[in-house]
C-alpha cells in the first residue's frame, strides 16, 4: 500500500540503490581511488577541479613527534582520515589559543590530544574496514557570505548527485546548533533540496520535519539562492568524470574566496537527498539515462541536468 504510493512518487529504496545503482554503475576496482581522499584529491587536481589545499599527510606514528612544528604556522586547518566514511573522524581547527587548538564548538585541544586523535586515525579507527589509514591535513574553507545567515556554526556543504555524468539532484546540508557544527543529517543538520534550474533552495527538512526557516538563525531557508551554483555543478560533473563512477555524490563547499571547491567524493551516496528535496529520484534517473551521452562536454551535461529538473 505505502510501497505502491512510494513507487508512484519515484522514491528509490536502499536495496534498489545498492543493487541497481551502486553495484551496477560503480565497478569495485574504481572504488579504492574514491574512498581514499588523498588519491581522489589528486585525481581532481589533475583534472583541473578545485580541491582544498593539502597542508600535509601523516602516514606513520613516528611522524607524530614533528607534528607540532609542521603545524606551527597554521592557524586553522582540517584533519581527516584519508579513508573515513560519513564524515567520521574529521576535526576542524578554527584557530589557536596559545599552543592549544580551538575546534568546532569552541572546545580547545592540547597538542598531545591532537596527536592522539591523529594516531587514532592512523590506526584505522575511522577507516572503512578498520585498515591502517593516513591522516590528511587540509586548508579550512570559509563560509561564503551569501550563506552566512543559513548556518550557525561550521560550514554548509553542497551535495550534487551525478548519475551517468549528469547532475540529477542536489542538496545543501546546513549545520545547526544541534548538530554541533557538523553537516550530517543524522546528527541534526538541516537538509535542503536545491532546484537545479534556479539554484534556489526548494525544500528543507530538519530532524525528519519539513521546515521553512533556520531553527537557530530564523533566516528563511526556502527560496534562498545558492551562490555560484552552476559552477558548483560543473565542478561536480568534472570530479565525477575523473572517477569513472556512474552514481556518485560530490560534496562541495562554496568558499568565500575560491568559490566551489570539491571536498569529498562518495561512491555510495545516501538517499536522504530525496527527503531534502521532498521528491523521488527515480523519474530523474530514468530521464537522465535516456539523454545521457558520455561524450557530451561537461557544460552541456550540466545544462541537461537543469532541463531535466525544470521539466520535473
Amino acid at each position: 500500500m505505502i510501497a505502491r504510493r512510494l513507487r508512484k512518487a519515484g522514491i528509490v529504496g536502499m536495496n534498489h540503490r545498492n543493487r541497481e545503482l551502486v553495484q551496477r554503475l560503480n565497478p569495485r576496482r574504481l572504488l579504492p581511488a574514491v574512498d581514499d581522499k588523498i588519491h581522489s584529491k589528486a585525481l581532481c587536481l589533475a583534472a583541473g577541479v578545485a580541491a582544498p589545499a593539502q597542508l600535509g599527510v601523516v602516514r606513520a606514528h613516528h611522524e607524530l613527534a614533528g607534528l607540532g612544528e609542521r603545524l606551527a604556522r597554521q592557524r586553522d586547518f582540517v584533519v581527516k582520515p584519508a579513508r573515513g566514511a560519513q564524515g567520521n573522524g574529521i576535526l576542524v581547527v578554527h584557530g589557536r589559543r596559545g599552543d592549544d587548538f580551538v575546534v568546532s564548538g569552541g572546545r580547545t585541544l592540547a597538542p598531545r590530544d591532537l596527536r592522539h586523535r591523529v594516531s587514532e586515525i592512523l590506526s584505522g579507527l575511522y577507516s572503512l574496514g578498520g585498515q591502517e589509514d593516513a591522516a590528511l591535513f587540509e586548508e579550512r574553507l570559509g563560509v561564503h557570505p551569501d550563506l552566512a545567515e543559513l548556518c550557525h556554526d561550521g560550514v554548509p556543504d553542497v551535495r550534487v548527485l551525478v548519475y551517468r555524468g549528469v547532475p540529477v539532484m542536489a542538496m545543501v546540508r546546513l549545520p545547526t546548533h544541534r548538530s554541533r557544527g557538523r553537516a550530517n543529517l543524522h546528527q541534526g543538520a538541516i537538509g535542503a533540496g536545491v532546484d537545479l534550474a534556479s539554484g534556489r533552495l526548494c525544500a528543507a527538512i530538519w530532524r525528519d520535519r519539513a521546515i521553512e526557516r533556520h531553527p537557530d538563525t530564523g533566516a528563511k531557508v526556502l527560496g534562498h539562492e545558492l551562490p555560484q551554483f552552476g559552477h558548483a555543478m560543473l565542478q561536480a560533473v568534472r570530479a565525477a568524470d575523473c572517477t569513472g563512477l556512474g552514481y556518485i555524490g560530490v560534496d562541495l563547499v562554496i568558499d568565500a574566496q575560491r568559490g566551489p571547491v570539491v571536498l569529498e567524493l562518495n561512491a555510495r551516496p545516501g538517499l536522504s537527498i530525496q527527503l531534502a528535496n521532498a521528491g523521488g529520484l527515480q523519474p530523474r534517473l530514468t530521464r537522465a539515462a535516456r539523454v545521457a551521452k558520455p561524450d557530451l562536454p561537461a557544460e552541456r551535461r550540466v545544462e541537461l541536468g537543469r532541463q531535466l529538473a525544470a521539466a520535473h
Binding site: I2, A3, R5, L6, R7, K8, A9, I11, G13, M14, N15, H16, R19, E20, H61, N88, G89, R112, D113, R115, H116, S119, E120, S123, G124, L125, Y126, H186, Q187, D208, A210, L271, Q274, L275, A278, G279, G280
Partner: protein, 530 residues
C-alpha cells in the same frame, strides 16, 4: 527482480529439494535419527567344559544386509584364540556367511563372549507377481536339493504334494501360497512335538522347527528354490531363536514362515543371524556346551545415532558427511545451522532494514546465547558491554594506540568471563561456565564498535545499534534451537542449496525495505497531495 535471479534462486531451491526428496522418498533414508529405531545390543555367551584336548567353538556371525546393520562388535574369551572368517561379499549371502571360530586347548569351564550392536529396520519383500522367470540352474540345484534338515525328496512329501492338487507350475505364487496355507493350517503347532519334519507331517503336528522345516521341504519338493534362515526375535532381556524360510521368486528372496505366521514381511526386531540350516553355535572337542543370548535396547548418544544415518547407496555413502569423525560432525552441525541463521540476518537487514554491528556478528552472538542460555547470555552481553565501555573510557585518558587498547579490552573481557565462571560455579549454575570462551572476541569487537559509534554518532545511536544487533541475534537464536535441524542438515547438506536460493532471492530484491517505507512515508503523503 530480474529473470536471472529468479531462475538461479528457483534452480537452487529446486535442486536442493529434489535431492532431499529423492533421498527421503526414493531411497527411504530417515529424515531424523529416531531414538527407538531399533538399535539393539546383543550378547552371546557360550560356556564350554573341556576334556583336556583341543577344542573349538564356532558361531555364525550376523552380517549387514537388507534391514539390518551390525556394528560395534566385540569378542572375548579367556584362553582360546579367535579367528573371524569374513564372508566373501561377491558371493551370495549363504556362502558368504561370516563365522567366528575360537580354538584352543581347554580342560575345565571356559567362556566365550560375543557382543555386537544391531540396527534393525523392518524388512518387506512381498511376493512378486507373474510372469515368473525361471531361476538359474545353479540356483535351482543349490536350493531345491534334499538335506538332512530338509528332506525334500522324501516319499511322504512327494505324496502329500500330489494330494494337495497344487496350481500349475506357471502359477508360482499360487503354489507357494497353497503350500504355505497347508502347513499353517493343517499342521498344528505343538511345542512338545519333535523337530522332525516327516514326523510332523505324519502326526499333523510339530514344533516350530519341525513345521518350518516341513514348509521348506515341501517348497523344495515342488521345485521352488527355498532356504532356511536362522534369526533372533529380539526382545528384552532374552531373545528367542527362530527360523523362517525364504523362497526365491523373480530375483528376490521372499520371507515366509509357517511357525511365525508371516508372508512377505518379517516382523519388527528380527535379526537375521545366518542363512544356514545348522545350529548357530557349534562346538567340537568339548565335554558339554551351553549358550545364551541376551539383548538390550541400546540407548545411544546423539552422535552415535547420527552416525547410524548412513545412506544405503554406495556413492552417496562415499560423500556422506557421517563419514567424518564424531567431533567434526558436531562442529559441522553447528556450521550448517549457522548457514540457516544467516537467512535471518539477510531478511532483517535487506527486507526490514535493521542495522547492526558487523554483518554476521548477530549470528555469532546468537550462537553464544545458545551456549550460555538465553538470559545468562543476555546478562553476559550487557555486563561485558558495560565493563568494556567503562574500561575504554578509563583507557581513553592514557591515549594508547588502537591495537594494544583492543588487546587490553580483550584481557578485561576475558577476566570478566573468568569471574562469571566463578560466579556461576558459586551459584551452581553450570550453564554459566559453558561455551562462553569463543564469543569473547566477538564481544570485544562489539565493545569497540559500540564505543566508536558512541563517540561518532552519539550514545543514543550506539545504544540503538547495540539493541538492534541484539534483536537480530534474538531473532536468529531460535534457529539454533530447532530440534534435529543440525542432524537433518548433516544428513542432507543439499538443503543448504535451498538456503542459498533464498539468499539469491533476497539479494535480488530491489523493492523497498520496511525501513524505507518508514523513512520516506512523508514523501508519499506529499506526492498524494500534489
Amino acid at each position: 527482480m530480474d529473470r536471472g535471479v529468479v531462475a538461479t534462486a528457483g534452480g537452487l531451491c529446486a535442486l536442493g529439494l529434489l535431492l532431499f526428496a529423492w533421498k527421503v522418498w526414493g531411497l527411504g533414508m530417515p529424515v531424523l535419527p529416531e531414538r527407538d529405531q531399533g538399535v539393539w545390543k546383543v550378547q552371546l555367551d557360550v560356556s564350554v567344559r573341556g576334556q583336556g584336548t583341543d577344542a573349538s567353538v564356532r558361531t555364525a556371525l550376523p552380517d549387514d544386509g537388507p534391514g539390518q546393520q551390525i556394528f560395534g562388535e566385540h569378542f572375548a574369551s579367556d584362553r582360546m584364540t579367535l579367528d573371524v572368517r569374513e564372508g566373501d561379499p561377491e558371493r551370495d549371502r549363504e556362502s558368504a556367511a561370516r563365522v567366528a571360530v575360537w580354538t584352543g586347548f581347554i580342560e575345565d569351564l571356559h567362556q566365550v563372549l560375543y557382543v555386537f550392536h544391531a540396527k534393525l529396520l523392518p524388512i518387506e519383500q512381498p511376493l512378486p507377481g507373474p510372469p515368473y522367470a525361471r531361476p538359474s540352474r545353479a540356483l535351482r540345484e543349490a536350493h531345491t536339493r534334499a538335506t538332512i534338515a530338509v528332506p525334500a525328496h522324501a516319499t511322504e512329501i512327494r505324496e502329500t504334494l500330489k494330494s494337495l492338487d497344487l496350481p500349475s507350475p506357471e502359477d508360482l505364487g499360487g503354489r507357494i501360497r497353497a503350500i504355505y496355507a497347508y502347513v499353517l493350517h493343517e499342521i498344528a503347532a505343538e511345542p512338545t512335538a519333535g523337530p522332525d519334519p516327516l514326523l510332523a507331517l505324519a502326526q499333523r503336528a510339530g514344533n516350530a522347527d519341525g513345521r518350518e522345516r516341513l514348509l521348506a521341504a515341501m517348497l523344495r519338493g515342488s521345485g521352488i528354490p527355498t532356504r532356511l534362515v536362522r534369526a533372533l526375535a529380539l526382545r528384552e532381556p532374552d531373545p528367542r531363536a527362530m527360523r523362517f524360510c525364504e523362497v526365491y521368486v523373480n530375483g528376490a528372496w521372499v520371507p515366509i514362515s509357517a511357525s511365525e505366521g508371516f508372508f512377505g514381511a518379517v516382523p519388527e526386531n528380527t535379526l537375521v543371524v545366518a542363512v544356514d540350516e545348522g545350529p548357530i553355535v557349534q562346538t567340537a572337542g568339548v565335554r558339554s556346551a551351553a549358550h545364551t543370548w541376551t539383548a538390550l535396547r541400546e540407548p545411544l548418544s546423539r552422535d552415535e545415532l547420527v552416525s547410524l544415518m548412513e545412506p544405503p547407496e554406495p556413492l552417496l555413502r562415499a560423500v556422506s558427511l557421517h563419514r567424518v569423525s564424531v567431533p567434526m560432525q558436531r562442529g559441522l552441525r553447528i556450521l550448517l545451522v549457522l548457514c540457516v541463521a544467516t537467512l535471518v540476518v539477510s531478511a532483517l537487514r535487506n527486507l526490514v532494514g535493521i542495522r547492526s554491528f558487523g554483518t554476521f556478528m548477530p549470528v555469532l552472538l546468537a550462537l553464544a546465547l545458545v551456549a550460555t542460555g538465553l538470559w545468562q547470555g543476555l546478562a553476559l552481553i550487557v555486563s561485558v558491554l558495560a565493563i568494556g565501555i567503562g574500561g575504554r573510557l578509563v583507557l581513553e585518558r592514557l591515549r594508547l594506540l588502537l591495537v594494544p587498547r583492543l588487546g587490553i579490552l580483550l584481557c578485561v573481557v576475558v577476566l570478566c568471563v573468568a569471574a562469571f565462571g566463578l560466579l556461576g560455579r558459586a551459584a551452581e549454575r553450570p550453564a554459566f561456565e559453558l561455551g562462553i570462551v569463543f564469543p569473547i572476541v566477538i564481544l570485544t569487537m562489539l565493545v569497540e564498535r559500540f564505543s566508536i559509534v558512541m563517540v561518532e554518532e552519539g550514545g543514543a545511536e550506539a545504544l540503538r545499534r547495540a539493541a538492534s544487533t541484539c534483536l537480530i541475534a534474538l531473532a536468529a537464536y531460535p534457529v539454533f534451537l530447532v530440534p534435529g535441524l543440525g542432524e537433518v542438515l548433516l544428513g542432507y547438506p543439499e538443503l543448504i542449496l535451498v538456503v542459498m536460493g533464498i539468499h539469491v532471492a533476497i539479494g535480488g530484491y530491489t523493492g523497498y525495505r520496511l525501513s524505507d517505507l518508514v523513512r520516506f512515508r512523508g514523501l508519499q503523503a506529499q506526492s498524494e497531495a500534489s
